[in-house]
């Protein structure tokens, strides 16, 4: 079913820096994400991609404007069931193994039974089976990001927000990994918004939002 998952109207976000200067990161952003969408969010560094992803995921609040999640339920229910998040920097829980990290959203959602087995299975599907028992510090940056993606996929969310998920991978590995992710997402009608500098990844997405000094161009589905 093609429904609106998230709608944003007149979104502004600004921060006050250490020397009390006001920095406007997002200006008058209007956008909409539908179920099953494939959206690439591109733009230079500092253009507000990460901030927009955080607001879409409910991790941050806008300074002004409105954000709705009509297709995802109440705000408190967004994570982990509805939205999976992959951060720009490695975000694995350092004291848990890769498999335990992947199982974490399932356990947090109250589905602890079989969570680790399911996590191991997902890691295998993504070609990361041999990393299951390793601690995050024993993984390379690229491996950690792939495990983080597996964690985001574990619970089968309706939307995944990924911030540079292939940033630390070489181009071949990035392509292969992204192919696997799209395969996993194919049948689940899960929307995917990826912030990326990788043109190859961006071109594989259906829609491209270009961030430019806080504005989002071409935000609506085509």
């Amino acid at each position: 079913m093609d429904e609106t998952l998230i709608a944003v109207k007149g979104l502004n976000r600004s921060f006050t820096s250490g020397n009390s200067e006001r920095v406007v990161v997002l200006r008058d952003v209007d956008c909409e994400i539908r179920s099953g969408a494939r959206i690439a969010l591109v733009g230079p560094s500092g253009s507000g991609k990460t901030t927009l992803l955080h607001i879409l995921g409910g991790l941050d609040r806008p300074t002004s404007g409105m954000v709705y999640w009509p297709g995802l339920g109440a705000f408190e229910q967004l994570r982990p069931r509805m939205i999976g998040v992959v951060f720009q920097s490695p975000s694995l829980f350092p004291a848990l193994t890769a498999a335990q990290n992947v199982a974490l959203p399932l356990i947090l959602a109250g589905e602890a039974g079989g969570a680790e087995a399911e996590a191991a299975s997902l890691l295998d599907a993504l070609g990361l089976g041999d990393l299951a028992d390793k601690l995050p510090e024993e993984l390379s940056g690229g491996q950690a990001q792939r495990v983080a993606m597996a964690r985001a996929l574990a619970i089968g969310p309706r939307l995944i927000l990924a911030d540079e998920p292939t940033g630390q991978l070489d181009s071949v590995t990035a392509q292969l990994f992204f192919d696997t992710v799209l395969e996993v997402l194919e049948g689940a009608n899960t929307a995917l918004v990826v912030a990326t500098h990788d043109n190859a990844i961006a071109q594989r997405m259906d829609t491209c939002w270009v961030m430019d000094h806080g504005h989002v161009n071409s935000p609506f589905p085509q």
Binding site: T51, H54, G57, L59, D60, R61, L78, R79, P80, R81, G84, V85, F87, S89, S91, L92, F93, P94, A95, L96, Q100, A103, L104, P105, I107, L108, A109, G110, A112, L135, P136, E137, R151, A152
Partner: protein, 882 residues
């Protein structure tokens, strides 16, 4: 760059720097307070010792011709405050006719003091009845002669005819042992008992009666110069004061070159107090140093809790070309801020506290040793920051330093079970101390040098270190195993997340074990100090009651006994029980000893009889045996040795008969040994059935009445004084007064004040160890909790990780801490046996305080958990961290 670095550190790591400063402040504050207390206690001990000496020096003039010259020499000593002359005449005996009979005593002495003697030596003569001017007769002599004010006594002078004098008053000579001591005897000579019969005459009367005796028999007349020194000129600590006084005395002896012999009473008293002063030092060190060590450990733990982040920061600096010297300089700058802040806070806190404690002497605040304390605090601060920084920089590659969580390899001390080895070593040293009777303080008589057997410190030091390592070892193992015990402990907080929480905690077993061990040490410090303090107070109370007899004691004489007033005293509102007790005198061979006549079945109602008072049996059994043997008597061990007594032997004691006022032999049966007895002196004494004594002496008069109070003994004493104000000869004392007069001057130490402070510190440090360690760990992992929140953890799920850590710290800390605290207290009580008189039979445990410690520790953990919960809306900021 240093300023930029410092600004960054203070902006983003303020909590850690503040935590380190707090640890340093705790260490410095506690050390400073210990120093102030020790200085104040030493000064108090010296002052109390000096004030307890009625006559500082007794200078016996060899030839009366030299009296004036020797007096001048004494007056020229700058520290001499007053010099008075006392003259003694030996006489063949006294005689008095009363009630149609003539009483005669054995040999005695007639004494006179010069003008103004009473004002400078007020404690020598206490008037019991009649006037204080004129012919004064000692209490025992009056009893022997059956005379009172207004009666005539005949003095049988040596080598001359008798002389009659009229008695003006009856007096007590509280310092008779010292007043009549034989001056110039070798130190190893046995102490001589004071004369049984004494009369005091005015100077002119004495002159008239005994100048002829001095001509005829100069060997029977002695002259002494009694000296009062300026006590405020003495050094404050007893050891220095002892050296000072004895040095002054020897200097005087050298000046008079054999013309006088000196009995240095003040020096002797200070010599006895030296041992107590050293015990006070040992007590402070035993009780206080663990707290200081713990504060040092907390400081190091605080600085090391950020080790992961510090290593990463240093590795980044090294990657960018910073040399070792630069990195250490930056750490030193951070250390300087924490150290200076901590030292200032600690010292200011200690001084402010000291000003608010009435018993702490103001002069102690300017004690120069506080500078050493400040220096120690600075060294601690720099070491806590620089040592770990130097270790990382010199031993790890930049890459290795970047790891924050690594697989743990078993360190050598764990593989060797070093904790167990240290505990076993402590047990061995403890056993060795036991074999020497726990003599840790040595202050030989007459020798200036004193020593402390500091090897005794090895026992608690090894035990503490061993317990810390064993706690670390066991906790790291149990937590790292992620077994059923760990899951069971976190399950109440984690619920369905138990497996994940336990897994997460098991990977942090090292950090958690340190937190548990720190908390355990703090709890152990609190528990051991509290138990020792409570046991000490209980024994101090036992000692005070031993000295005073009961809560309140009304003391009379055979002439004016307290017994007739028993009924009215028992009816006082604050009185629970009142029992009479006889206090007579009996000759055992040639030795006059105190005899106490009691009702063994009822004496326990008014006084506590400890098993330690009696040899070879407990107090209850001993009293039962005495009750079962009407003619039974308990004697001292010395008497048993002197007379080679066996159980059941008959011993003839000579008691004074009321019928003819003569001493007659009365047979008693030896049934046991009494080492101590309420109101009894330290030397030999006897305890017998009052009914038998009354029957064989013809009088059932009870000289004493012992009172047990319902509530406050001081209030009961006030009531007693009120009803007995018409009887000034009756002396009323309560147990609180006795506590200040106990022979051991350790009561001057104000152990209660010190341990209150230590207990307060212990609670603070227990709370700091638990809460700070958890809080700093949480601060360090705020981003991780932000990640958990970002992937959908509910607030209660986040909290379960925090509560899980908290449960481990509180439970582990309290279990290990309580067990080690109780064992430590038991060891301290044994090692410091010399502090107790008598030694305690069992430890006294302050359950309420221990419960309060648990509440504080748990409270600080709760506060840390509540503070560490992530606040809404700041997830994104923390996600940007790093």
């Amino acid at each position: 760059m240093i300023l930029i670095w410092l600004r960054g550190v203070l902006t983003h790591r303020l909590f850690r720097v503040a935590g380190a400063a707090a640890g340093i402040a705790l260490a410095v504050g506690l050390l400073a307070i210990l120093t102030l207390f020790l200085a104040s206690a030493s000064a108090s001990m010296t002052e109390r010792a000096a004030s307890a000496v009625p006559i500082d020096w007794q200078v016996q003039v060899v030839s009366s011709r030299d009296t004036e010259a020797i007096g001048k020499t004494l007056a020229q000593i700058p520290k001499v405050k007053a010099v008075h002359r006392a003259r003694y005449a030996d006489i063949a005996g006294f005689q008095a006719k009363t009630g149609g009979t003539t009483q005669t005593t054995g040999p005695g002495q007639v004494v006179t003091f010069d003008e103004g003697y009473a004002s400078d030596f007020p404690a020598e003569v206490r008037v019991l009845s009649g006037g204080g001017v004129g012919v004064l007769i000692a209490q025992q002599t009056a009893a022997n002669l059956h005379v009172g004010p207004g009666d005539t006594v005949t003095i049988n002078r040596t080598g001359l005819g008798p002389a009659d004098v009229k008695v003006a008053g009856v007096v007590d000579l509280p310092d008779a042992d010292s007043l009549f001591q034989a001056v110039g005897l070798p130190p190893q000579a046995a102490p001589q008992a004071p004369p049984d019969n004494v009369l005091i005459l005015p100077g002119a009367q004495w002159e008239g009666l005994f100048s002829p005796q001095q001509q005829a028999r100069p060997d029977t007349i002695r002259q002494q110069l009694h000296v009062r020194l300026k006590h405020d000129a003495l050094p404050s600590d007893p050891v220095s004061a002892f050296t000072y006084v004895t040095g002054m005395e020897r200097n005087f002896e050298a000046k008079v070159a054999g013309k006088a012999l000196v009995a240095d009473n003040l020096g002797s008293r200070l010599g006895a107090v030296r041992e107590d002063a050293l015990y006070a030092t040992v007590l402070f060190l035993f009780l206080g140093l663990p707290g200081v060590a713990l504060a040092v450990a907390i400081t190091f733990a605080v600085t090391s809790s950020g080790a992961a982040r510090r290593r990463i920061e240093q590795s980044l600096l090294r990657v960018r070309g910073a040399a070792t010297k630069r990195i250490l300089l930056l750490s030193a700058a951070e250390a300087a801020v924490a150290a200076l802040t901590g030292v200032v806070l600690g010292l200011v806190g200690a001084v402010l506290f000291a000003r608010g404690v009435p018993s702490l002497r103001t002069a102690a605040i300017s004690d120069p040793r506080l500078l050493l304390v400040a220096l120690a605090g600075l060294l601690l601060g720099f070491a806590a920051f620089l040592l770990p920084a130097w270790w990382d920089v010199s031993r790890k590659t930049a890459g290795a330093a970047r790891r924050s969580v690594v697989r743990q390899y078993l360190p050598l001390w764990r593989r060797l079970w070093l904790g167990v080895a240290l505990i076993v070593a402590a047990a061995l040293f403890f056993w060795m101390s036991a074999s020497t009777g726990y003599q840790i303080v040595l202050a030989p008589e007459g020798v200036a040098a004193t020593s402390v057997d500091y090897k005794a410190f090895i026992v608690p030091a090894l035990f503490w270190l061993g317990v810390a390592l064993l706690t670390l070892h066991l906790c790291a193992y149990l937590i790292g195993q992620n077994g059923a015990l760990l899951r069971a402990m976190v399950a109440p907080a984690a619920g369905p997340l138990t497996t994940i929480v336990a897994a997460a905690l098991s990977k942090q077993s090292g950090r958690l074990a340190i937190g548990i061990a720190m908390t355990a040490l703090a709890v152990s410090f609190a528990v051991s100090t509290a138990i020792f303090n409570t046991t000490y107070n209980a024994q101090a109370r036992v000692d005070a009651e031993l000295m005073n007899g009961s809560d309140v004691t009304v003391s009379g004489t055979s002439d004016r006994p307290a017994g007739p007033h028993r009924a009215i005293l028992a009816s006082l509102p604050e009185a629970a029980f009142a029992e009479p007790m006889q206090h007579r005198f009996a000759y055992v061979g040639a030795d006059l000893q105190d005899l106490y006549g009691i009702d063994p079945a009822r004496i326990g109602r008014v006084t506590s009889l400890s098993d330690a008072y009696f040899s070879g049996g407990n107090a209850v059994d001993t009293m039962k045996r005495l009750a079962a043997s009407p003619d039974g008597v308990l004697v001292s061990e010395e008497t048993v040795q002197d007379f080679q007594l066996q159980q059941g032997d008959t011993i003839n004691l000579r008691l004074l008969s009321a019928k003819d006022h003569q001493y007659h032999a009365v047979p008693f049966k030896f049934i046991g040994v009494a080492r101590e007895f309420p109101t009894a002196p330290k030397d030999s004494f006897l305890v017998a059935n009052a009914t038998y004594v009354a029957r064989t002496t013809g009088t059932d008069v009870s000289e004493y009445v012992l009172l047990r109070a319902k509530g406050d003994p001081a209030m009961l004493a006030r009531e007693a004084r009120s009803v007995l104000q018409s009887y000034p000869s009756l002396k009323i004392t309560d147990v609180g007064q006795a506590a200040h007069l106990i022979g051991s001057s350790l009561t001057a130490v104000d152990l209660g004040g010190l341990t209150t402070i230590e207990l307060g510190f212990a609670v603070l440090m227990a709370a700091a160890a638990a809460g700070l360690m958890l809080a700093l760990g949480f601060v360090e992992r705020r981003r991780n909790f932000a990640i958990l929140d970002a992937i959908g953890a509910k607030p209660w799920q986040l909290a379960s990780f925090l509560w899980g850590e908290g449960i481990l710290v509180v439970a582990g800390g309290f279990v290990f801490g309580s067990v080690s605290g109780i064992v430590t207290a038991w060891m301290l009580v044994k090692l410091l046996t010399g502090v107790f008189d008598p030694p305690p039979e069992a430890l006294s445990v302050p359950w309420c305080y221990l419960f309060a410690v648990l509440c504080f520790v748990a409270g600080s953990v709760v506060a840390a958990v509540l503070l560490a919960r992530p606040s809404a809306g700041h997830d994104a900021e923390h996600l940007r961290d790093f």
